[in-house]
Amino acid sequence: MALSPGVKRQRLKADHSPPTSAEVKKVWIYKSTPPYAFMASPTILHAATKLVPSNVLITVFQVFSRVLVVCGVLLATPTGPTSPGLPLALVAWSITEVVRYLYYALNLLGTVPYLLVWCRYTLFIALYPIGVTGELLCLYAAQAYVAQKKLWSLEMPNALNLTFSYHYFLLFIMFLYIPLFPQMYLHMFAQRRKVITDGTSKKVK
């Protein structure tokens, strides 16, 4: 019973029982993801300076959505990390990022084995939808809490006559996935067609 997910157990004095899995998740997230979130931002710079062959706008969207999910959902709310979307997203992100950065590194050295090129341009077919599903589930789990607590929201009256509803913002982000995901997904397929033709790989510009 020690590792039932999502259950916060009552801690008694001198209780040295192992932490629940929800607590483990939370600690792990706090420790590892802020560095991750900040380390992801240079990715945009690398794309902008053409150090790596990636489209700048697409990279911006990817980094932004990751940082939003990590900081704005997983860290900010207690309901976000308990969503089944978390393991989905983490698995998808991890595999994708390992392949991607290995590809970038070897690309700079000029020798990328075909297997790696194949991985970069094929694994996304499954991983991208899985990752997006995970992100959306986390967003959904967070928005109810945000609505109730009015987290990070601003109401009138105030000096700048401004309102901000973080709840509506999250719903808007979830809505944006509808037009943006097909475009990003199809863009990846177009890239795949350019790079992988008949079992051989062409040099990426």
Binding site: L57, I58, M156, P157, A159, L160, N161, L162, T163
Partner: protein
């Protein structure tokens, strides 16, 4: 030379969407199929005439949808260029790009400006859908009435200019632009109008309100003056190209400092409106517009300098002395 005809092979390529925009909708697609056909022409045939002939061969390719090029990735040929001026001979290759479904510029402008006019006035009445029941009976500060007046004036002016002042150099634009432009204007209108007409809106002091109102009205007049001056640069029916200069209207003296004073005045109007209402959403709209207008102004400035060799060096693009 009467009776001389030349045959030109037209090779059709199919591609759609605005160049350089990876988020163009419909998604850009490259060459899907090519076809060859012969059309008989004379050396003085214009590009405009050529497009009509191509349309005759393929009904779906309305002349406004065609962009003709000499090279696959070359520049689009202008309508009044002739085959002779382009050096096209018998057997020359020409590329035809399908620009996708088009819509008239005037139509787009009328629709995208009518939205803000109507939507703001709807929000002005404080509908229960946005503000809950009873909101419309909460007293309205006079600054809110002034803001509604300014907004109405601005967009009514834009609609009238579209109908009577502006001369559009292109006839059409891709139909996707209608959705893109309307989204920008209409959504921003709702965003701004929601806050200003809110029952909990707090107006700034009278000096701020009336001072910015004055600035707003002056900038509107300035913007109108520039639009009229630009229209008068080219007499109707001619193709003269003249450098814009200050006229007798004192508002046009801003031409001495910038290439695109209409954009300068436009930003001035919105800045004044934002200060008048002390509303950050309005300020965001002013900044967004300024960003886009700056891009346009820099392009126009570059084009003017290239075209007019005696272009004044001291002129900037949009912000006097700075940008």
């Amino acid at each position: 030379m009467r009776g001389v005809k030349e045959r030109i092979t037209a090779r059709r390529t199919y591609g759609r969407g605005a160049p350089g925009n990876c988020f163009a909708w419909p998604p850009t697609a490259t060459v899907a199929e090519t076809e060859q056909s012969g059309i008989a022409l004379a050396p003085t045939t214009s590009v405009r005439e050529l497009k009509k002939r191509v349309h005759g061969l393929k009904k779906s390719l309305h002349p406004d949808r065609q962009a003709l090029r000499l090279e696959l990735k070359g520049r689009t040929l202008k309508e009044d260029e002739s085959l002779k001026s382009l050096g096209l001979k018998s057997g020359s290759k020409l590329y035809v790009k399908d620009l996708g479904p088009q819509i008239g510029w005037k139509t787009v402008f009328l629709v995208e400006y009518a939205g803000p006019l109507l939507l703001y006035l709807c929000m002005y009445r404080r509908p229960w859908l946005f503000y809950g029941e009873g909101a419309s009976s909460v007293p309205i500060h006079h600054a809110v009435h002034i803001a509604a007046g300014c907004w109405t004036l601005h967009y009514a002016k834009r609609l009238l200019e579209t109908l009577f002042v502006h001369r559009f150099s292109h006839a059409t634009m891709p139909i996707f632009n209608l959705f893109k432009n309307c989204s920008y204007y209409w959504l921003f209108t709702l965003y701004i109008a929601y806050h200003i007409n809110h029952p909990l809106f707090t107006a700034p002091g009278s000096i701020q309100v009336y001072g910015s109102l004055t600035a707003f009205l002056l900038c509107e007049l300035g913007n109108l003056s520039i639009h009229i001056a630009l229209r008068n640069l080219r007499p109707p029916g001619t193709t003269v190209r003249k450098m814009p200069v200050a006229t007798l209207n004192p508002f046009t003296s801003l031409f001495n400092l910038v290439s695109c004073p209409n954009y300068t005045y436009e930003f001035g109007s919105w800045l004044a409106f934002s200060v008048m209402t002390q509303c950050l959403p309005a300020g965001l709209f002013a900044l967004a517009g300024m960003y886009q207008m700056t891009i346009w102004a820099l392009g126009k400035h570059r084009a003017y300098k290239k075209e007019f060799l005696s272009y004044p060096r001291s002129r900037k693009a949009i912000v006097p002395f700075l940008l």
